[in-house]
Symmetry: C2
Subunit: 97 residues, 2 copies
Amino acid sequence: MLLSVADRSTILAPLISAGWTHIKASDAITKTFLFPDFIQAFGFMTKVAIKSETLNHHPEWKNIYSKVEITWTTHDCKGLSGLDVQMAEFCDKAYSK
Amino acid sequence: MLLSVADRSTILAPLISAGWTHIKASDAITKTFLFPDFIQAFGFMTKVAIKSETLNHHPEWKNIYSKVEITWTTHDCKGLSGLDVQMAEFCDKAYSK
């Protein structure tokens, strides 16, 4: 379900503070994660992939060596949903470990 | 080492026939692989990731659900090398299994 206008101000603010960018045109959030090397970047992607599959909510992402650029949006509701917020928070948690 | 002009005609032709596109501006090759679902797409990426790490030659790639778009080029020689050909062939082999 699309995030309500009321929810957005409270829910998106902490993500923006954590480095996520809100792409208004596509109502998506995106962030670039940097790692020391490819193995650590792909290890992170594997964690996110498994969680994605568990929630049946998958990212749009790009990887070049130690850099992973992830974008979350929900095609079913044509914009940000609670699942995008949940996955963005999961990414930050997985990255910080 | 950059592929020689002589090598290119014989080496690149089979890859082009197999669906790879040569991007002249960046001297790279790119191909989009389609799978039935995310698990199979990410399984393919995992095989390619492990091989990449073994050869210390990593892709530039993008994944959206069941679609994986891979680009190979060699930054050290600013264009296509034998490693790109080897990895492109590995991708086709991994995909066909």
